[in-house]
Amino acid sequence: MLGPSGSGKTTCLMMLAGFETATRGEIRLDGAEINNIPPHKRGIGMVFQNYALFPHMTVGENLAFPLEVRGMGKAERDAKVIRALDMVQMGEFGSRRPAQLSGGQQQRVALARALVFDPSLVLMDEPLGALDKQLREHMQYEIKHLHESLGITVVYVTHDQSEALTMSDRVAVFNDGEIQQLAPPAELYECPDNSFVAQFIGENNKLSGTVSERSGDEVSVKLENGGQCKALAVNCGGVGDETLISIRPERVAIGESVSDNSTEALVKELIYLGDHIRCRLDVHGNDQFIVKVSNSAGHKHLVVGEKTQINWAAQDARALNPL
């Protein structure tokens, strides 16, 4: 679950866990309705943003807790705890207190604790939010691998889109308490259903205008500065309705070509980034138009202030709902 803060992802997660009651609708787990099952009977593992490791218990006791409340015998408990700790490479830390562990270590323990009782579902509420960037990326892979090797379903809440794209099979993008789009990461990026998703995931160039002509999947849009643009009709109304065209920066090419859309652009700014050059252009009156020029042999060298032709395919310009 991905979305800006206040978009309802945590509330939704809490409803799954049973800490919030859904006023309407039903929640199903493996086909069974769980709306009225109290949290402790749902069998859902949960990893909290602050880890919520019990500070007065050792790591081992933390892990044994869910097994203990299920009335599991001591020997079996110990074996499971050791296995779970080994799984997250924390085998030697069983007798430590949470306060004696680093953030990453606490994260692993929290993970192990959520998994130790073989839950049918694991919920994670921004579990990596408190870690520094490097550690976060490392943990992302680790959770992903663990997830793959255990084959357990994980519902993961984050506001970090790259984390969502890295870790997920499917991403639900939240805004205003609604799921905007539920799709695999690639589809989200390449085929956003609406302007919010297009904006929120990855970089995006916007051109607003009104639909002037529509034929099947293709529309012609009259832009605000009078220009015309052909685009793929995804989520726009009929003729006369306002629309917002979304074009990914890497789908725009420099130079004249046979593409559907070709226009003149003024180079405003160039940023050299090694593998590519980021160009900010003024296109159809939008001076925040970004184009990524690959730093390959023989690419066109632009100069700030110069006018150049750019073009893109109608398939790559998605006509979406206006914001």
């Binding site: 866990a17 109290p38 593992g45 949960m46 919520a52 680093s102």
Partner: protein
């Protein structure tokens, strides 16, 4: 991960520090010395800043306590006024039959007491150990000027109590300013004619039982405070800020009201013609003749003290509960614990520092409480501090008051030590 970090820290430690390489400041002083100087100056400045408080504490707190401790073992009110008798006591071992020399010394000392008007002080000291001796000293001292040798017969002729061996044993004991007799008295013990320590008569036993009663009542009050404060503190910690602020004002309100006013309001409420009894009678629960006695007894002391000490329990509990993240309980619930188990195993243990701090605070305040039991305790609700106050203000036996106070202090220290052993004092969180 953690290991890596430790390794880095170690390698940092192994590097030579700057002071080890001979660095100097611009004027040539070694850097180490210059730094040490600067630090010394800073420390001196810091000391200068805390000096007023240090002096204040020394003068107004430590010195009086020290004086009190001294008073409990040091009472020179007899020994200072008997230069001649002291000599006789030094020269003659305990058990010697007092002869003419002893009575002569006595008469000389009584005469000087008469001149200095100190026979009342000296007599009072003996009176503590042998009641009825005070007037013996004052009356005989008035006549001492006219007594003629042989003094033994003359003195005994004024009052035959002077021949009592117990009196001489008590005087010998009091001839040294240092004594543990006040501690004996504070523990319901006394000395018999032979100087052996024995228990006092049953109808005079009072302090030992009262110490136990004080401990028991303070414990009971602490327990009730804990039971009452826990939900309130929890509410305070979990309500939205606006409501919890309002609730906090209600909790703190008693702090802004005079102790006397609060205690007196309890009198208004609980007395037999008071609000509570009137309500009970009006609703027919209790007959007019059998109104319940809720004040001027132990019940009154307990009720009023619980009310007065409650904030001291709520505040430490609140300060511990406030930072407890609700996700702990949620985590426990999601891990399969019922709400009761989550409370018992997860929430409750995390509030222990607050319970410890509040409990210790309420208990120690309760053990030493004076004004409330004095006002609403009647006869059965008196605590040990009321007896300390009695001896400070009424009987004016300050040494006994000091001995009682010292025992109280020792008891509190003992509890503090026990607490440290059982819970750990670093676990204390006062706010």
């Amino acid at each position: 991960m953690g290991k890596q970090m430790t390794d880095t820290a170690n390698s940092l430690d192994n590097r030579p520090t700057q002071a080890e390489i001979d660095l100097t400041t611009v004027d040539g002083t070694p850097l180490k010395a210059a730094l040490a100087n600067a630090q010394k100056r800073a420390r001196r400045r810091a000391l200068f800043l805390v000096l007023p408080l240090l002096l204040f504490v020394l003068i107004t707190f430590l010195a009086p306590i020290g004086q009190m401790l001294l008073r409990s073992v040091h009472n020179p009110s007899f020994s200072d006024h008997i230069p001649n008798l002291s000599v006789w006591f030094d020269e003659n071992p305990a058990g010697t039959e007092p002869g003419e020399a002893a009575y002569e010394a006595l008469v000389l000392d009584l005469r000087s007491m008469r001149a200095d008007k100190t026979m009342g002080i000296a007599g009072t000291r003996i009176n503590y150990d042998l009641p009825g001796s005070r007037s013996l000293f004052t009356s005989t001292a008035r006549k001492a000027g006219a007594l003629e040798p042989p003094f033994q017969e003359a003195v005994i002729a004024t009052n035959e109590k002077w021949a009592n061996p117990k009196l001489w044993q008590v005087m010998r004991g009091a001839s040294s300013a240092y004594t543990v007799d006040f501690y004996l008295a504070a523990l319901d013990r006394t000395r018999d004619v032979n100087g052996d320590i024995v228990a006092v008569d049953d109808d005079r036993k009072i302090y030992a039982a009262n110490f136990l009663k004080t401990l028991f009542l303070a414990g009971l009050i602490t327990f009730c405070c804990l039971i009452l404060a826990f939900p309130v503190a929890h509410l305070l910690a979990t309500l939205p800020l606006r409501q919890s602020n309002l609730l906090m004002i209600f909790v703190l309100l008693p702090f802004w009201t005079s102790l006397l006013v609060r205690t007196t309001s309890w009198i208004v409420l609980l007395q037999s013609q008071g609000v509570v009894n009137d309500t009970l009678v009006a609703t027919g629960i209790v007959a007019d003749e059998s109104r319940i006695q809720m004040i001027y007894n132990q019940t009154g002391t307990i009720v009023a003290m619980i009310h007065i000490l409650l904030p001291f329990m709520i505040l430490p509990l609140y300060s511990v509960m406030r930072p407890i993240n609700p996700s702990y309980v949620r985590a426990a619930r999601s891990l399969g614990a019922t709400s009761w188990t989550a409370f018992r195993r997860i929430y409750l243990p995390q509030t222990i520092p607050g319970m410890g701090a509040g409990g210790l605070l309420v208990f120690i305040l309760g053990v030493g409480y004076y004004i409330t039991p004095a006002l609403v305790g009647g006869a059965s609700g008196q605590l040990i501090s009321n007896f300390i106050a009695f001896h400070m203000q009424k009987s004016l036996n300050w040494s006994l008051a000091a001995a009682l106070a010292t025992l109280l202090l020792l008891m509190v220290l003992l509890l503090y030590w026990l607490y440290d052993r059982l819970v750990g004092i670093d676990n204390l969180k006062l706010g």
